[in-house]
């Protein structure tokens, strides 16, 4: 356990708390969806997990990559689709 890690964690939490202040309701769903896609960052871990020695671990990683990728690709695409709607007809 490293103090810098915790520091980074806390600072990131602060940034997270502060960047979202006022969001018009129409953006609630897109924002949720977009930030949801970002939480697919777990893909980093998933990719690295595939190198784990044991077979099970590797396969877990494999599935994790699929899961995370669904989250990332689906998330960003669906967000974009929603946001496209707001353009003036």
């Amino acid at each position: 356990m490293d103090i810098t890690t915790i520091t980074i964690f806390i600072l990131a939490v602060f940034v997270g708390f502060e960047i979202i202040t006022k969001v018009p309701p129409t953006l609630h769903t897109p924002l949720m969806s977009g930030s949801n896609a970002i939480s697919g960052i777990a893909i980093i871990g998933a990719i690295l997990a595939t190198t784990v020695q044991g077979n099970i671990g590797m396969w877990l990683g494999f599935i994790a990559v699929i899961f995370a990728m669904i989250n990332v690709v689906g998330g960003f695409m669906v967000t974009d689709r929603m946001l496209k709607m707001f353009k003036r007809k």
């Binding site: 939490v13 877990l60 599935i63 689906g74």
Partner: protein, 458 residues
């Protein structure tokens, strides 16, 4: 170098989220965030040693295809459940990574690692199952009614305690204790979402979204020793999403005038009237003033249709304020005065003159009706009979034949009244259910005051 890539991707996420919360920049924000993700993936692939790139490629392809397929094919109305299920996968991924790490180090890892892994698995799995339940509820596979049983809270608490005990015994019992944690977290996820009503699902999804961020951050803690830079990246992005998701959840609750606790534990309070337009019982769309404000923001030509309700609410000054604000933004605002609006001849004239609305802006039926066709928004304020299309089409209606204001020809019609009650003639108005109609309920004056402040906040 790779470290820097992670840093850049984190910055992309920060900016992406920031931009996503403003209507004008939202779309670019999403693109920037996805760019950040791309950078992170590239960094990881070049960082990893001994990676089976083919396998990873296949997995990514599968995931991308599934995600992309659903994202493009699913209907607009089903978006919320889609977001829910995507979110579940994200949480699942975190849990899987943490599990895989557990398998690597086994039971005799450091305390810090065990705690991290436990939390990651706990939150990740909970997100996974919870999201699936949310999906089921929204998709109608599971009853949207809150499902409760006596002692539910206590049971949940017991579950949590059991899990932490299991975590405590990991060093002793190893993998078995771990299994218990996985299973119980999954159960907890289900139990947490099941008692929440359908109308509150958006809030729940937002909360679960925040959880999936937390899970990712926890996974970061798991990884940070073996892969410091990737771990840090996960921590930053995960906590970013976790925190901002929490704020968003709070904002959403505030918008519904409820506390988060009330949403989560308030199942006994019963359903609130479906106010987000997803309810299928009534085929009207009820919007908040904030949403209405967004629509006005995009409009250029606006026609105000005052009715008796405006007079009852004594909202003549409020409407002028809103109109003046919109005019200052360069929009055109006209008033459509129906000859029999109100309860006496010239009622609307008396009303609007009092608010000093210039005579030039007032248009009578014949002048204004052709204008609706190229108007972006018609806002109907406490009028009912005078905009009832039944007068044109329904031979059996008592008002059949009366000339009406053709508000339905406008691109969007925003209708403000307090309830779904009828007007003077006592007939229902099918306009309210039209495709391009939006209801904003409330007293006209209150609503206009709120609308104005929302317009100013955009």
């Amino acid at each position: 170098m790779i470290d820097f890539l992670y840093l850049i991707s984190a910055i992309c996420f920060i900016y992406g989220l920031k931009m996503l919360s403003h209507p004008k920049t939202a779309r670019n924000g999403n693109i920037i965030a996805s760019l950040g993700m791309l950078i992170a993936i590239i960094a990881t692939v070049s960082l990893g040693t001994n990676l089976d790139l083919k396998m990873i490629g296949i997995a990514m392809l599968i995931g991308a295809i599934i995600g992309g397929f659903f994202a493009t094919k699913v209907e607009m109305t089903q978006m919320p459940q889609l977001v829910a299920i995507f979110n579940g996968f994200g949480g699942g991924a975190s849990a899987l990574v943490a599990s895989s790490e557990f398998l690597k180090y086994g039971a005799d890892s450091s305390m810090f690692l065990i705690i991290s892994i436990t939390l990651s698995v706990l939150v990740g799995t909970l997100t996974l199952t919870g999201s699936f339940i949310a999906f089921g509820k929204l998709q109608g596979l599971i009853s949207t009614k809150p499902i409760t049983f006596p002692g539910q809270q206590i049971f949940n608490a017991l579950l949590a305690i059991t899990m932490f005990t299991a975590a405590y015994f990991i060093p002793t019992y190893g993998i078995n204790a771990f299994y218990i944690i996985v299973i119980l977290s999954g159960l907890l996820g289900i139990l947490l979402v099941i008692p929440i009503g359908g109308a509150d699902m958006p809030v729940v999804i937002s909360l679960l979204n925040s959880y999936s961020g937390i899970a990712a951050a926890m996974t970061g803690f798991v990884l940070v020793n073996s892969q410091p830079s990737a771990g840090n990246a996960l921590i930053i992005c995960g906590s970013l999403v976790g925190a901002s998701g929490m704020i968003l959840t709070q904002i959403m609750c505030k918008g519904m005038n409820r506390s988060l606790a009330n949403v989560i534990f308030g199942a006994v309070g019963g359903e609130v009237e479906a106010s987000s337009g997803e309810g299928k019982e009534v085929n009207i769309k009820s919007y908040s003033t904030e949403e209405a404000a967004m629509i006005f923001d995009a409009a250029e030509k606006i026609i105000v249709v005052p009715g008796y309700g405006l007079a009852v609410a004594q909202a003549q000054h409020a409407v002028r304020e809103v109109a003046e604000f919109l005019e200052d933004k360069g929009k055109t605002v006209l008033y459509a005065i129906h000859p029999v609006a109100g309860r006496m001849p010239g009622h609307m004239n008396v009303l609007l003159a009092e608010a000093n609305i210039s005579y030039e802006q007032l248009k009578d039926l014949d002048e204004i009706n052709p204008e609706f066709e190229d108007c972006d928004v018609a806002i109907v304020l406490g009028a009912n009979d005078v905009v009832n299309p039944a007068a044109r089409s329904d031979q059996n209606s008592p008002i059949y034949g009366m000339p009406i204001l053709n508000v339905d020809k406008a691109r969007t019609v925003i209708i403000n009244k307090r309830t779904m009650n009828t007007g003077f003639a006592g007939v229902q108005n099918e306009l309210f259910g039209y495709e391009n109609s939006i209801m904003v309920f409330g007293d006209a004056k209150d609503m206009l005051i709120k609308l104005l402040s929302d317009l100013k906040e955009l």
